[in-house]
Each structure stands twice: as C-alpha cells, then as structure tokens.
C-alpha cells in the first residue's frame, strides 16, 4: 500500500503498525484503555485476511497468540494492567519456548481495577519481573501517535529476530491522544522474519542456537518434528532436570537479549550536548519534560533530556555515560518511582531526583521547571 496520512489515536496507530508489520492474528479480551486496538483489529483483520479472535479471558488470548505464532503467523494481543496480570504465566512460557509475539500494555491506573480511564506508568517493573523465574524481556515505550505505529513495527521485528515476546508499554495518554500519523509506503518499511531451519529434518535440533544465541524456529505443520515445552529442555527440546541444562538454557535466554542490548535499545537525546542537568523520561511525562526544558533554556539553564524509547533491556551504559556528563538527573514518572531506581543504580555518584506522580496527569511542565530550579540552585 502507498503512503497514507491519518489523524488518529495512539491505539489505532498501534493496530495499524501491527498490520503493516504483517500481524495476521490478534487474540484479545476488551479492556480500557486498550479496547480501541481490539475494535480496530476486528474491522481490519478480515480485510487483510487475518483473524481477530475474542477469547474468554486474557490467559486464553495470550496462549492462543503463542499457538498462532508457532504456525508462522505474526501474532499479538493488547490489554492493560489487569489483563497483563492474567497473562504473566503464559509470558514465561513464551520466553521459555522462544516464541515471537507482541503484547501491548496500554497502562492505566493501578493496582487492581484502579482508574481504568486514567493513564499511569505502574507496570514497568511488572513487564520485566512479572512472570516467575529469571528472564529478560524487551519493552518499548512510545511517546506519540507516530511512535505507536513505528515502535509496534519495530516490536514485531525484534520479536522475530530474537524469538521473544516484546512489550509495547504505552500509557493511556499516548494510547488515546490524537495526532497526525504517517503510514509509510509498504516498500519503505523494514520487515523482519524469524530464521527457519536450513538443515534437513533429521538433523534439526530445535533449541540449538546459532552464534547470535537464537535457534532457527521450525513451524507446526512443517516437515520438522519437535517438542516445545515450558519445562527446562536441552537442545533437542527434551525435558531435563539436570543442573547444567538449566544453567545453560537460562544463561542463553538471558544473554540473547543482554548481549544484543545495543541493537535493541533506542534513545532520543534532546538538548543534551551542553547540559548540566538531564531529565530521564519515557512516555507521556517526556512530552511535559520537553516543554519544561525549552522554558528553562529560555531562562539560561543548561538542561536536556534523555528519552528512553526502550526501557527493557535497560539502557545501563547510556545512563552511566549521561551521569558522567551532567551534575543532576531528574526522573519524572507516572508512578511511585520505578525506572528511577535503575537510573540511580547506574548513575553512581550523580544525584538522581525522583518526581513521582502515581496518577493520570503527567507532571506539568511548570512542575518540572520548578524541580530544575531546585536542583540547579
């Protein structure tokens, strides 16, 4: 399809991004503020020959997405905090069986039912630590309608390349705001596909990784036979309770993300070159921060922003590097402080100041300006 321009909301941009990336299976269960993704998919999937399936709950939704992915389909689900809480066990299964898929979490106020129609950033740690066991996840944090599209395309590419579940972690404000969206000509989009096995079926070892730590993936219904299980398994895919098998598998699953962190992480630097003070932010608060930085710059204060477009794997090196360049770091988050703790860990001796706000409105620009005054004086 040629380039299209729309004026639309983040949720719909996300759905369009998924379709452009080749997503042809959506399994979901309605929930505010992610419902518009499901509704858009219900209309669009039949047009593109894909399936919108509404399940009885989020557990079925994500598990069906895993199933669809194993047939070779690009598949996704979209939900909010309560739904992610239900999906957590299956997310571990997707990690363990190295299943490419995309989970969209349009974050709302929590805990529990919280404030369904108000945004928050309360699920950042859940995305990383929610399922049991020791694993890595990829999570992208869009801050605009255009980024909802772009990062969803990227989420599918990363999921395919690394055979892993990838989160879109957007807050309600980004999900529901309306802005201009440019959907590029399909030939201008870079679309990636998982590696398929090249060896003859008799030689195929389903969980033997290549040098990039990612094993080629056989599909259900192909001439390759395999057993994929959430149990700890060896290269043949067979369950094992041996210690060395557990250590090797868990180490590889972690390293395939961590060793590729530089390829995964995307950041935006805003007015940082000469900055003494840096704001580290993601999602909606970063939009307030941009305004605040411009205002503070007008007063002659040297302040800039490192905007995280990826929160998992965490950009440790970038934070350490930033900390060596600035005198203060300010972290406005729509939660009680989640990414803040990681920034603090990697900023070493540079003071890190949290602006916590566990509510639907982000920090106002003037509040951030005030904080900038506080730390610069």
């Amino acid at each position: 399809m040629p380039e299209r321009v729309m004026f639309t909301m983040g949720d719909i941009a996300c759905a369009e991004g998924a379709l452009s990336a080749g997503c042809r299976y959506f399994g979901g269960y309605p929930i505010t503020p992610a419902t518009e993704i499901a509704e858009w998919m219900a209309r669009r999937m039949p047009e593109v020959g894909g399936a919108y399936v509404q399940y009885e709950d989020e557990i079925a939704s994500i598990t069906s997405v895993i199933g669809a992915s194993w047939t070779g389909a690009k598949a996704m689900t979209a939900t909010s905090g309560p739904g992610v809480s239900l999906m957590l066990e299956a997310i571990g299964l997707a990690v363990m069986t190295e299943t490419p898929l995309v989970i969209v979490n349009i974050m709302r106020g929590g805990p529990s039912t919280g404030q369904p129609t108000r945004g928050q950033q309360g699920d950042v740690m859940q995305a990383k630590w929610g399922s049991h066991g020791d694993y890595q996840i990829i999570a992208l944090t869009p801050a605009s309608v255009q980024e909802m599209f772009d990062q969803t395309v990227r989420a599918f590419n990363l999921a395919e390349r690394f055979r892993t579940p990838v989160f879109i972690l957007a807050d309600e404000t980004v999900g529901h705001m309306r802005e201009r969206l440019v959907i590029p000509d399909e030939h201008d989009l870079k679309i990636e596909y998982r590696k398929l096995p090249k060896v003859p079926p008799e030689e195929y070892l389903p969980f033997k990784a290549d040098d990039d730590l990612v094993p080629p993936m056989a599909l259900l219904g192909s001439e390759y036979q395999f057993y994929a299980t959430g149990l700890t398994h060896d290269e043949r895919g067979y369950p094992s309770d041996k210690e060395n098998v557990q250590i090797e598998l868990i180490t590889r699953l972690n390293n395939k993300i961590l060793h590729n962190a530089d390829k995964i992480i995307e950041l935006e630097e805003f007015m940082l070159d000469d900055a003494d003070i840096a704001v580290v932010s993601y999602g909606t608060p970063s939009r307030s921060a941009k305004r605040a930085i411009k205002d503070a710059r007008n007063e002659g204060i040297k302040v800039g922003m490192l905007r995280l477009k990826t929160v998992w794997p965490f950009p440790e090196k970038a934070i350490a590097d930033l900390a060596s360049r600035v005198k203060h770091i300010i972290v406005p988050e729509q939660n009680m402080g989640q990414i803040y703790h990681l920034v603090k860990e990697h900023a070493l001796t540079t003071p890190v100041h949290l602006m916590a706000k566990p509510a639907g409105m982000p920090q106002y620009p003037q509040e951030i300006v005030q904080k900038i005054h506080e730390v610069s004086s």
Binding site: Y25, A51, S64, G67, T97, T229
Partner: protein, 270 residues
C-alpha cells in the same frame, strides 16, 4: 508405532498400571487408521501426567502451561486451518484450571479434537481431588474419614451442553472402540470431545483401595455399559456401578474457521 512415537524418549514416565500409555496409543492408531499426513498433525497438551503425552509424538508438538492446551490449540487452528489439531490432556488440566477454555471452545465450535484422560484425580501432584473426583472419595486433600466434600462434573454432559459437535466416552480397556471414536472426532469438522476413563493405581487407586492397575482396568471393563446414541444427560458415571460409554453427540453446526473463511470472502466482495 515407530512412525508416530519418539522411541528415543521411551520408556514412558508413567507408573505401572497407568492408562495414559494406552490412551497415547489409541491416538496414534486413530491417526494411522485415517491415513493422515503426520506432518500436518499437531499434538498439544497441558500439564500433568496426561499432559506429558504430546512429548511422545513424532510431529509438531507443544506442551503448554497448566490448563491452556485448548487455548493454544485454538490459536494454531485459526492461524492455520489446514492443520489437524489434537489436544490430549488430563481431567484436572481440561476441566478445572482449563475448564473455562473447554466450554468456550465447545461454544465456538472450533475444529479441534480433545482427548481427555480422566483418571479421577490430579495424578502428577500426588493424588489430590479434582473436578472429576466423586463425592466422598479419598484423596491426599480429601482424606478419610470424610473424603471429598465436592461433587464431580460429568464431562460428557459438560461438553455436550457447552456445544461440542462430537462427544464420546470410553474406558481405557475399550481400545478398539475408543480408537474409532477418536478417529471420528478427528474427521469431524467441529469441536470433538472424547473422554477416556483411566486408572491411576498409584494415587487414586491406592487411596480408595481399588486394587492395582490390572484390577482397576478389570473393574472398568465390568462397569462399562455401552449405550451408543444415548442422550448425553443420561450418560451416567458411577465408578462403582456403571460408567455409560459410547458416542452421545454427533451433530452438524457451522465451524469457526470455516465461518471466518466465509467472512474473508465477503470482505473481498466474493
């Protein structure tokens, strides 16, 4: 059976006298009898002793989380309707933790075949009562003198009233008949549910003094009452006296992936 079973994984993990190996062979024979292209057959199970079944088949197989085999199977079937999708799992997996997925898959009428190995308890975790354990029976969590305070599901009635288009029940000793029903279920364009009543001598049998595997299978043969075509609500299940076996539902209804295909054609003005 070498064509179908991963012989490099044998012997099974199952205890002596367990019915799960028998049920596994029934499914393999049904596939053989139908002459299916085995590459196009997908076998999925959940967690439990019965949930280990998928790992023994030499095709594309997947071992999901506890209770979610049907949800996974739906994703597979909808994303690629060409595949023959079979779920084999336990009574606890399919009717307790996965019960919601079972009834909704029946309601949707997706063309998958579910073989439920009902050994009347949670075998793998050591024999606790579950959704099929009869009232007052003993288990690790319903010990003497009271036994189980709850009452069981009748799985045939559950599947039938939820909308399954093919429903059958056999015991593990009726291998030929059960294999035929599994084959029919696979061929059926719609949701098929086949219950295989089996023995768990190690846990359920021991706690309820039902004898060893041989004695339990003999008992199953004695109490099995074949009543093909009986209305499902009359398919009685009383372990001591009478387990009604047979095919109880075989009806035609629009199948989910077929309806989806029609929808696609409509969307493109055909």
């Amino acid at each position: 059976m070498q064509k179908y079973i991963r012989t490099d994984r044998l012997p099974w993990i199952y205890c002596p006298g367990c019915s799960i190996g028998i049920a596994t062979q029934m499914v393999a024979h049904a596939i053989e009898d139908l002459g299916l292209d085995f590459h196009k057959v997908v076998i999925i199970s959940g967690i439990g002793c019965s949930g280990r079944t998928s790992g023994y088949f030499k095709t594309g197989t997947y071992h999901t989380t506890h209770g979610r085999a049907i949800a996974f199977a739906e994703g597979v079937k909808i994303a690629n309707p060409e595949l023959e999708v079979i779920v084999i799992s336990g009574d606890g997996d399919l009717a307790a933790i996965g019960g919601n997925h079972l009834i909704h898959a029946c309601r949707r009428n997706i063309d998958i075949t579910v073989v439920c190995i009902n050994n009347l308890n949670y075998g793998m975790t050591g024999g606790q009562f579950g959704p099929t354990t009869e009232h007052e029976r003993y288990s690790q969590t319903s010990p003497p003198p009271f036994g189980n305070v709850e009452h069981p599901f009748n799985l045939v009635q559950l599947a039938a009233s939820s909308g399954a288009t093919f429903v059958a029940r056999w015991t593990a000793v009726q291998a030929r008949r059960a294999t035929k029903s599994i084959a029919k279920g696979i061929k059926k364009k719609g949701f098929s549910f086949i219950e295989i009543v089996g023995a768990c001598p190690t846990a359920y049998g021991r706690m309820n003094r039902l004898g060893d595997g041989l004695a339990m299978h003999k008992h199953l043969l004695e109490v099995a009452d074949i009543q093909n075509g009986l209305p499902p609500h009359e398919a009685e299940f009383d372990y001591e006296r009478r387990i009604v076996c047979g095919e109880f539902v075989n009806i035609e209804k629009p199948e989910y992936t077929e309806v989806l295909r029609q929808m696609h054609l409509k969307a493109h003005g055909q």
